[in-house]
């Protein structure tokens, strides 16, 4: 598994915390959604870096009050064809004003990465060897003309309301 962020593979300082395990004092643990809801009280007043892992189907409203508290939110793609995390990502960016790392985990494939970026993801846990190779070679398949506003920095093209080009 390799973490791709800001155009490069980087060391991952974060650890996925198993259900039931206490978080390390130094933080940098990504809590399972339900485990976080049980443990949140332990972090009142603490400023250690925390993360949460959100499975598709989770109700973001249940952690609404904590969202800005997290440094990492990992959204799960159980299969690449399960597109719920695309909507969850946009909700986190648009509705909840989340500005921390938004990490795609699960089945992350090169052809989905541009879509993920446009929905607000900025970090990708890659397990697929071919995807990793493509990213190492700087290849992210996609298009360079978009018909919708997105969560990414893009530049408007012409006078049409939502035409965009990569920023």
């Amino acid at each position: 598994m390799a973490l791709y962020k800001n155009g490069a593979f980087v060391d991952d300082r974060w650890r996925a915390l198993p259900e039931g395990e206490a978080a390390p004092v130094s933080g940098h643990a990504i809590f399972p959604f339900d485990w976080w809801r049980e443990e949140r009280g332990a972090f009142d007043g603490s400023n250690v870096p925390l993360g949460v892992r959100v499975e598709p189907g989770a109700d973001l409203a249940e952690i609404a009050a904590d969202i800005k508290r997290f440094s990492v939110i990992a959204l799960v793609f159980p299969k690449f064809g399960d597109g719920r995390a695309f909507s969850l990502a946009r909700l986190l960016r648009e509705r909840y004003g989340y500005e921390g790392e938004l990490r795609a985990v699960g089945e992350v494939l090169s052809d989905q990465i541009q879509l993920m970026q446009r929905c607000g993801f900025d970090a990708f846990e890659v397990t697929d060897a071919i995807t990793e190779k493509a990213l190492r070679e700087g290849r992210i398949p996609g298009v360079a003309h978009f018909y919708q506003p997105s969560e990414r920095k893009e530049v408007p093209v012409g006078s049409r309301p939502w035409t965009r080009a990569p920023g």
Binding site: G81, G83, F86, S87, L109, P141, V143, H145, P149, T163
Partner: protein, 557 residues
């Protein structure tokens, strides 16, 4: 019609390059078939029984002659010389080789066409009334709005992996010719009390194995909120639609299981919480797009055409063509001409390269460069001067395109069925052909009057059998094809799902069963002005059931 600017052209070129690379990676083994499938589908490529099938988008069914010529060229060069117009106003080629697909997409791009999102679990080609911009009963041409939705939904990053396919349809006239209530979202153009344009919103319609008529979820969405409201609906669906069972994954099941009121509340809550202005549709953009759809400047003409009347008086076949295939135009002295792709005994929706070129010629010479594809699998010349009809008719007749049967019993919608389709459980084309031959286009067909027969070769209902006045569903029982019949379905503004008559009929008996249904209708109707659907809604199933299943029981007594 809409013309690409540099941005649109560059987008399609990007997409062709992207898909060519995906094909290359698939052939190199870098993508598994599982990983490749969604990309191939979202670019219109299906794996069928005998070969790949390429489905090309005809947005809201509008085609220019040069585009039709290109389709003819592709039919000749890469297929077997014909194409198949579908119930979603698209065109399918049944025999392309996968290696040729990138080249075909390149040819299409030259005439501002593509196959993007004609399949896959995404927002599909947006359809609209095939008489849009021409019909006398229209409030407003819905195509500018369809084009706006088409653009916005193209490679939408959030909505490319939905639970299942998602179909939008729009209509701009009180008479719904676009079957909007059988779509995931249907928009019906309306005006509010202040005279402002907006849309009545329907959601949750669909056919397939669980047919449902869409629910009205809002009385009025103003034009400026069209895209935002669409996003709200699709987002609720993307998050909450079922993904555990592909047969329960359409939005109709979500609406059904959530309950209408809860679903409406979820959409309204999402809509209310959206960033207020991001997707607000600027009036200037609506006007800019609308300009592309400006009606042609039709010369003023008297409502009555002497040339037309003279030919009608002299030629009964021509008179019949005018009666059945020509619809009132909003401009006096003009007509909307429907070209039947249902010649008696032919395969519904098929057109040869020569026929495509003949239609392109006519559109150029007599039709202000416009062609439409109808969801009923016919072609339309929307703007023809009545004075030109005799010439147009003669040219159509020369190419086997002058069958005078629009709206009659032989104007059958039919899916490709087991002759082509990997999903089919029975053949549908031969059944359509036999019914067509049985009733013909003569006196009997006229006596029967308005009748929509729709045939599907499997439960997925691509032939729209649920909303046929008479629907036929081909199934397989113990290795034998059997045909289930439904009555009283309708896809128009009075949308309803047909009722099953009872046990199915064998391939041999199905035409006889249709004959019995038709005879029962003719015998029981109030008079000739009461069409089949109206009569069925009055009479109910009983007389038809009796005629179909009890007719032989007297013999033994």
């Amino acid at each position: 019609m809409y013309r690409y600017d540099e941005f649109d052209a560059a987008f399609v070129a990007d997409r062709v390059a992207q898909f060519s690379d995906q094909v290359r990676r698939r052939l190199a083994g870098e993508l598994t078939e599982d990983q490749f499938r969604p990309h191939r589908l979202m670019n219109g490529v299906y794996l069928q029984l005998h070969a790949y099938m390429l489905r090309i988008a005809v947005p809201y069914g509008t085609l220019a002659p040069r585009q039709m010529r290109k389709l003819a060229f592709i039919a000749r060069e890469f297929d077997k010389g014909y194409g198949h117009f579908t119930t979603r106003q698209n065109l399918q080629f049944n025999w392309p080789a996968l290696k040729d697909v990138p080249a075909i997409l390149g040819h299409l791009a030259e005439v501002e066409m593509h196959a993007i999102q004609t399949s896959g679990n995404c927002i599909r080609n947006v359809t609209a009334d095939h008489f849009a911009g021409a019909a006398a009963d229209e409030i407003e041409d819905p195509r500018p709005y369809a084009e706006i939705l088409r653009q916005w939904s193209s490679i939408h990053p959030e909505f490319t992996f939905l639970p299942r396919k998602f179909k939008l349809a729009l209509t701009g006239a009180p008479r719904d010719r676009a079957a909007i209530q059988t779509h995931d979202i249907g928009y019906h153009v309306t005006r509010n009390a202040k005279g402002e344009t907006g849309f009545v919103v329907y959601a949750g319609g669909g056919q397939g194995r669980t047919p449902m008529v869409a629910h009205k979820i809002r009385e009025f969405v103003p034009v400026e909120e069209l895209v935002a409201y669409t996003q709200a609906i699709v987002r609720v669906y993307n998050l909450d639609g079922r993904r555990d069972n592909k047969y329960k994954a359409r939005i109709k099941i979500l609406v059904h299981e959530m309950g209408l009121e809860k679903f409406k509340a979820a959409v309204e809550a999402e809509f209310a919480a959206m960033k207020p202005d991001e997707l607000k549709l600027p009036q200037a953009e609506v006007e800019r797009i609308r300009a592309y759809f400006a009606p042609p400047k039709l010369p003023p003409k008297p409502a009555r055409s002497e040339a037309l009347e003279a030919r009608k008086a002299a030629d009964g076949k021509f008179a019949s063509f005018v009666e059945h295939n020509v619809t009132a135009h909003k401009t006096a002295g003009h007509g909307v001409v429907t070209i039947s792709l249902k010649a008696i005994g032919a395969i519904p929706g098929d057109a040869t390269a020569e026929q495509m070129e003949a239609v392109a010629d006519l559109a150029e010479t007599y039709g202000h460069d416009e062609i439409r594809v109808s969801h009923e699998q016919n072609l339309v010349l929307p703007h023809v001067a009545l004075d030109d009809l005799p010439t147009v008719y003669d040219a159509l007749a020369k190419h086997g395109l002058a069958t005078a049967n629009i709206g009659l019993i032989s104007d059958i919608i039919c899916c490709p069925g087991l002759d082509y389709c990997a999903l089919a459980t029975a053949r549908s084309i031969p059944v359509a052909q036999r019914i067509s031959e049985h009733f013909g286009e003569g006196a009997r067909a006229k006596e029967i009057g308005a009748m929509k027969i729709k045939i599907s070769g499997c439960i997925n209902a691509c032939g729209h059998h649920h909303v046929g006045h008479i629907g036929i569903l081909g199934l397989e029982r113990k290795g034998v094809e059997t045909y289930q019949v439904t009555l009283g379905g309708s896809g128009d503004e009075t949308c309803s799902i047909g009722d099953i008559t009872g046990p199915g009929f064998s391939e041999q008996d199905i035409v006889g069963a249709i004959d019995t249904i038709v005879d029962t209708y003719v015998a029981n109707r109030r008079d000739v002005s009461e069409d089949f659907l109206t009569a069925y809604r009055r009479l109910g199933m009983a007389p038809f059931k009796k005629a179909l299943y009890e007719r032989d029981t007297g013999a033994d007594i």
